[in-house]
């Protein structure tokens, strides 16, 4: 039940709802629970609410580590 997926904010309306998108999937979510969301941000969606921002820089850092492991292995 704690399944949550990352999606990108494409539009924010005045009522604190956003249109989010991932590939062909588009859906409306509520942004009440997150601080300072912006169009273009990736958010983690659970039960119709964005529960936090996804940090792509961090994701990139981790992947560099994996890649380095693969190359040295």
């Amino acid at each position: 039940m704690c399944l949550a997926v990352p999606m990108k904010i494409v539009k924010i309306d005045s009522a604190g709802k956003a249109l989010v998108k991932q590939d062909d999937l588009e859906t409306e979510v509520d942004l009440t629970l997150i601080e300072d969301p912006k169009v273009g941000d990736y958010v983690i969606i659970h039960a119709g609410y964005a529960i936090d921002l996804l940090d792509l820089e961090e994701a990139l850092e981790r992947l560099k580590l994996f890649r380095a492991m693969e190359e040295s292995g």
């Binding site: 704690c2 399944l3 997150i34 936090d52 693969e70």
Partner: protein
């Protein structure tokens, strides 16, 4: 690196990279090497039901060295909810004209007489919600009262709090919550303090941690604790989390470590917690498999208690009674693999479940049934 930057331009390709078998290989080798240096069995509990499904679904459990055992914990909200909660919800439907709203997972859980909430779907008395945000339109469109079966962990609780506040602001006073929320850290404490525990580390729930951050797990670092590693849900995330537990075990350490840094900040999500704490306060809660755990639940607080369904409808207190022959209570504590329950796969299957561990798609029994032999 620029290649990665490019491929990272959407998080969907991030998902693909995190499922890349070539990148998993060196992690698996590292796991192999680290486990070989520990000359005993290492039992790692994945606390979260979504982890259970991810580990089983990707087949990671079958790729691990022989001395590394993944055991499933209590992290399935439907599974840890006592049968008597279902009985009370059924009673509510029978003795009042209340509409009951619920997450879909709950509907097929048998009450103590074998009946379930799905039986009321036809008449429109039971409504499935995917998001608590839908409660607003349900309450708006209903003349009588609406009771939401409010179960879930810290991932879900803030979403219910937000929806509840939205309903209040909209003047909807016919929405009630029947709270059976649970919080994870007290359950970990209970698992740790069990006298015959066989547990060498925790894979900590990624999306619960998105909300609560790292701090609430710090007690794991005290004497008698075990390594605790916050992990994500893709195959590479899981392998990385397992490796981190093994490395700590090899070095004799017991630290709380966060390997899901793209989603989990050290401080968690303070805004979500603030909204949650505005509406709810800690209370003792009854868990299937564990009994009552101090301050492990959340209930409506202050003036909001008028919307507490248990109080408003004078629902009987909860108690634990397992379906005859069902070993779900032991399964939830990681004491028994589902396949050792005599009913597993014979009289108990996802189509005709006897206990909640077979009902919820995240239940350990259901996951074992579905993904017996899957591979990465």
């Amino acid at each position: 690196m620029s290649d990665f930057g490019h491929r990272l331009s959407t998080s969907m390709s991030l998902k693909h990279i995190l499922q890349d078998r070539r990148l998993a290989e060196p992690l698996l080798q590292e796991i192999e090497k680290t486990a070989a240096e520990i000359s005993r069995t290492v039992r790692i509990m994945e606390v979260c039901g979504t982890h259970t499904v991810a580990i089983r679904g990707s087949g990671i459990h079958s790729l691990l060295p022989e001395n590394v055992l993944m055991i499933s914990g209590p992290g399935c909200p439907v599974c840890v909810t006592p049968t008597s909660y279902i009985d009370n919800a059924l009673q509510l439907l029978e003795t009042s004209d209340t509409t009951v709203a619920s997450f879909g997972d709950m509907l097929k859980v048998p009450g103590s007489d074998g009946r379930n909430l799905a039986g009321y779907m036809g008449g429109g008395r039971v409504r499935i919600v995917y998001s608590p945000a839908e409660l607003l339109s349900i309450a708006e469109g209903t003349s009588g009262s609406v009771v939401f079966l409010a179960i879930g962990f810290e991932t879900t609780i803030p979403t219910v709090a937000a929806a509840f506040l939205q309903a209040r602001r909209a003047g909807l006073s016919n929405l009630y919550l029947y709270t059976a929320f649970k919080t994870i850290p007290p359950a970990l404490r209970a698992l740790l303090s069990s006298p015959d525990r066989q547990l060498d580390g925790f894979l900590l729930p990624g999306h619960v941690s998105v909300i609560i951050g790292v701090q609430p797990y710090r007690f794991l670092e005290e004497p008698g604790g075990v390594p605790g590693v916050i992990a994500g849900f893709e195959p590479l995330d899981l392998l990385q989390g397992i490796l981190a537990v093994l490395r700590q075990t090899g070095r004799g350490e017991q630290r709380v470590e966060n390997t899901y840094t793209r989603a989990v900040r050290t401080q968690g999500n303070p805004k979500a917690r603030e909204i949650m704490n505005q509406v709810f306060e800690p209370a003792d809660a009854l868990w299937r498999g564990f009994g009552e755990i101090q301050a492990s639940g959340l209930v409506l607080k202050g003036d909001y208690r008028e919307a507490d369904a248990a109080l408003h409808f004078s629902l009987p207190p909860l108690y634990n009674l397992e379906p005859p022959g069902c070993a779900c209570a032991q399964v939830l504590q990681g004491r028994l693999p589902p396949t050792e329950c005599p009913l597993f796969g014979s009289s108990c299957t996802p189509e005709a479940p006897i206990g909640p561990c077979m009902v919820s798609s995240e239940g350990t029994c259901a996951a074992s049934f579905r993904y017996g032999e899957a591979v990465l």
